[in-house]
């Protein structure tokens, strides 16, 4: 085998091995603590109901449609189909949960998935919480 052919085969195998998965990822791939830190923000400005109202508004601002909402459990699930180009479309799904904490605080945790992958990139969550901050501000100042 010529050196060129050998290198080509190695590169191809490495790429294939990188993308292939033998077992389904049932229990998630990220560290529990690390992902919670990236996905969670605490607020002390609004109560649970008003925070949920702001979350719904944020998801609408970002072009999501609401699939499910529950005040008692404080969860909202939403989907957005993102059209990248003629051949590539992404399905973005988010679950946001809002919990009451001690001292009139609420914690908001967001999980985002893009097609079959969970999003671990902190930048995505920073963008989402930046959008939520704006919606919380509008709710706080009673802007409909």
């Amino acid at each position: 085998m010529s050196p060129g052919l050998r290198w080509g085969a190695i590169v191809l195998c490495a790429v294939l091995a990188g993308c292939a998965s033998t077992a389904p990822n049932v229990t998630g791939s990220e560290s529990q603590l690390e992902s919670r830190q990236i996905q969670t923000r605490e607020y002390d400005t609004l109560d649970k109901r008003m925070t949920l109202r702001s979350v719904v508004a944020t998801l609408q601002d970002l072009g999501f449609t609401i699939d499910n909402a529950d005040l008692t459990l404080g969860t909202i699930t939403a989907t957005r189909l993102y059209h990248h180009d003629k051949y590539v479309n992404y399905t973005m799904r988010m679950t946001v949960s809002v919990q009451e904490k001690q001292g009139d605080r609420v914690s908001v945790r967001a999980n985002a998935r893009l097609d079959e992958n969970a999003i671990a990139d902190p930048k995505t969550y920073q963008d989402f919480f930046a959008a939520l901050d704006k919606a919380m501000f509008l709710t706080l100042h009673k802007v409909d």
Partner: protein, 196 residues
């Protein structure tokens, strides 16, 4: 510039092509996907109206009736959060467009038989097939005006072609569409009141 390259170079190029292909195949987060668009406030304004109704159940009932009037199926309701989700599928193109695409396919097939070449695909398969519409309607007590309710509607449209490919996706931004929906909601409130 010479296009003749060595065997080793060819493998190098092939590896680059494969890597690019695989990188494109694995989905990455579109950069602006979770970022608020510049126009978000003006869009929010166009999607929101305040109604002089103080009763929660009255405006929510009128909203459900509105969705039914507009021929949507209600997928989910969360009463305390005022969230209603509904969807429907509508035909995307007119009978004339379909007839034109079929005629073009017939013409292409005849031409390919005459010229002895294989037909290069179907015009009909590439035409629009259906539009999937998803509505999120949020009806809540107004924060700015006591004793009134605000309704915010967002509508997503997904255009699918005959080969089940997604051709276009987006939130409807035309303010006239929202204006028409809100006019219908006003009418629905009136009709519900009369029906009581």
């Amino acid at each position: 510039m010479s296009f003749i390259c060595s065997f080793q170079q060819r493998w190098y190029y092939l590896a680059v092509i494969f890597l690019t292909g695989f990188a494109a195949g694995c989905s990455s987060i579109p950069e602006e996907a979770y970022r608020l668009p510049q126009s978000s406030l003006s869009e929010r304004e166009a999607q929101t109206r305040t109604f002089d109704v103080s009763d929660d159940s009255e405006i929510l009932q009128a909203s459900v009736a509105l969705l039914q009037d507009m021929e949507y199926n209600v997928d989910a309701i969360e009463y305390p959060l005022g969230v209603l989700s509904a969807s429907k599928v509508v035909d995307a193109d007119s009978a004339l467009q379909k007839a034109g695409a079929v005629a073009a396919d017939v013409a292409l097939a005849i031409l390919s038989i005459i010229s002895g070449s294989s037909p290069g695909g179907s015009v009909y398969a590439g035409t629009d097939d259906e539009i999937r519409l998803k509505i999120t309607l949020v009806v809540l007590p107004s924060m700015a005006r006591e004793g009134q309710h605000t309704a915010r509607i967002t509508i997503q449209r997904i255009l699918i072609d005959k080969s089940e490919r997604v051709k276009e996706v987006g939130v409807i931004e035309d303010p006239l569409v929202y204006q028409e929906v809100f006019q219908k909601l006003s009418k629905s409130l009136l009709l519900e009141e009369v029906a009581q």
